[in-house]
Symmetry: C2
């Protein structure tokens, strides 16, 4: 299955196909110098398979954790490319989760002001979320994604086979973003979640979720308006993420629960339970509130949140940050 | 005088006007947070004048020298912006030479994936050369401009009044880029150089040179083809620059001399002499050759050079790097 992103000169295809990584060289132009950025959590066999298909491969496995999504790591990648004699005609491949995609994508956007970038996401979260959008970035201190570029990949390969080796908790956390997409834009997908999602459904659910994000991003590539609806659950979610040890998707699940109507909450709770996603967390609500304000989206005083009143339909709403204290209290106890 | 750059959604105006810096707030939206990046060589009175027109100004004077055009300095600028609470709606202003423009422009392109950038070049070289093109970058070790972005400013202000305080040698070095533009594209401008250029002519010469670059960049914003003609004199020039203590424009003058026909050389020599630009330099020609290959444009084996056979007309030509040894020997002795 191919989903084509229509972004004028920056258009590209997302190829969803089981086993596509083993045949990557048929779809991507790897007959040149390739900077393969991966992370320590990705099975080396996947990286070996890609490397075997490259004319010349420089491989770098980034240590896990957000701390490595830094300017120091970016500079190290660019320096490796320089030392290996990369030109503008060469390319960067990201193989891993969202962190690797963000970091490698930013490196591709910077090197000689831009070389080809291929994104090969290997987690549910990155397949669903970061394979569309063109957002690349590094962190600055403890502030996430503060420096980066909008830079589209030349191609994205999504191989559902690689999900088999993922821990169940990580799969569920990734599905939280697909669930988010359904709540803001696609009632039928939400109903599918209500009926229950099995391993065999993964490719379909990922594709449905990508189509929603495609539709939104094509209308607002640079995040000037509509695209903010993709932040549903993320304002409070980021605050929870900064304070607790929960996964990103788990925090988004809690953030969504806090920002939907009572009617939606009644239907969302059993879905979260079936996915073994949290429905509340023990933490200091005031610290979550402070962390939320510290997050870039809250800088500057005004705050726009996304509300879902019925599944598949959402609205942007400016609010006073203080009004979110009671929302936080619904899920942080 | 206004020169409008026509680059679709990235279009912007270049305003050439004596005294325009003192009235910058009338032309730019400074009624927000402004990151003012300048360099130690710019008279503080100019920066004071800009700061007085800003709602809220964070000022950073970068120490002189290419070594400060680094990721470390970039990160420092972004960190200052973060600490001062800059949002996507705020802006960056570059006030200084090309180094400041490249660094501040890259910071603007990165911060939250892009904030408004205003470029206020204060040297002849930066007014002529870096106010058009959208090239921003930092160096990586001793390799110049290896990491950066194509990022267009929202507005460029060129105030010829500020040139009065520049040393004559720096003015001449800047004019070398205008001379380059004339040789590749505008015989009439070259003839004007042959008749002699005085201080009163500066604004006209800068404008003529900008119109040439505008024409080329509008046809090839991302440097995929035509735009390479702007590199006339730069391949050998960069090699000379890496090895000698000469200014960039002086090295370009030597590089042009090496890459033009005998007929053009006969007319170019007296022009360079009238501008007190060098016509030869004492250095180790082999080191210049090695440095030229080390430069990014020579990485990878093939090398495209620009030749001028008659003033105002040029051609791109692929050459074996070795063939440039004899060209280098014409100016490096």
């Amino acid at each position: 299955m191919v989903i084509s992103m229509d972004l004028g000169p920056d258009s590209y295809d997302i190829v969803l196909e089981r086993g596509v990584l083993r045949r990557a060289g048929e779809t991507l132009d790897l007959n040149r110098k390739v900077m393969l950025v991966t992370d320590a959590g990705v099975p080396p066999a996947y990286a070996d398979a890609i490397e075997a298909q490259c004319a010349s491969c420089t491989r770098r496995a980034v240590a896990p954790g957000e701390a490595r999504k830094s300017f120091a790591e970016l500079e190290a990648i660019l320096t490796e490319m320089l030392q290996a004699g990369f030109t503008r005609g060469d390319c960067v491949v990201a193989l891993g989760g969202g962190m690797v995609g963000d970091l490698a994508g930013f490196a591709a956007s910077c090197y000689m002001r831009g070389v080809d970038f291929y994104n090969l996401p290997t987690t549910v979260l990155s397949q669903v979320d970061s394979s569309i959008g063109g957002k690349t970035a590094v962190n600055l201190g403890d502030i996430k994604n503060i420096a980066g570029a909008f830079y589209q990949p030349k191609k994205v390969l999504i191989d559902a086979d690689v999900l088999q080796t993922l821990p169940a908790r990580q799969v569920s956390a990734g599905l939280a973003e697909a669930l988010k997409s359904s709540l803001i834009r696609d009632a039928a997908l939400f109903e599918r979640f209500e009926r229950g999602v099995s391993a065999d459904d993964m490719e379909d659910v990922i594709a449905a979720s990508l189509r929603i994000k495609k539709d939104v991003v094509e209308q607002d590539e640079k995040e000037r308006g509509l695209r903010r609806i993709l932040n549903f659950g993320h304002t409070i979610g980021h605050g929870i993420e900064a304070v607790t040890g929960l996964y990103h998707g788990e925090c988004v699940a809690l953030g969504m629960l806090a920002m939907c109507s009572d009617a939606v909450r009644g239907r969302l709770l059993p879905v979260l339970e079936s996915l073994r996603l949290p429905t509340s967390v023990h933490a200091d609500a005031e610290r979550v509130y402070e962390a939320m304000l510290h997050d870039k989206k809250a800088v500057g005083g005004s705050l726009t949140v996304v509300r879902v009143e019925t599944p598949g339909d959402c609205a942007l709403e400016p609010v006073a940050p203080e009004s979110l204290r009671e929302k936080i209290a619904q899920v942080v106890k």
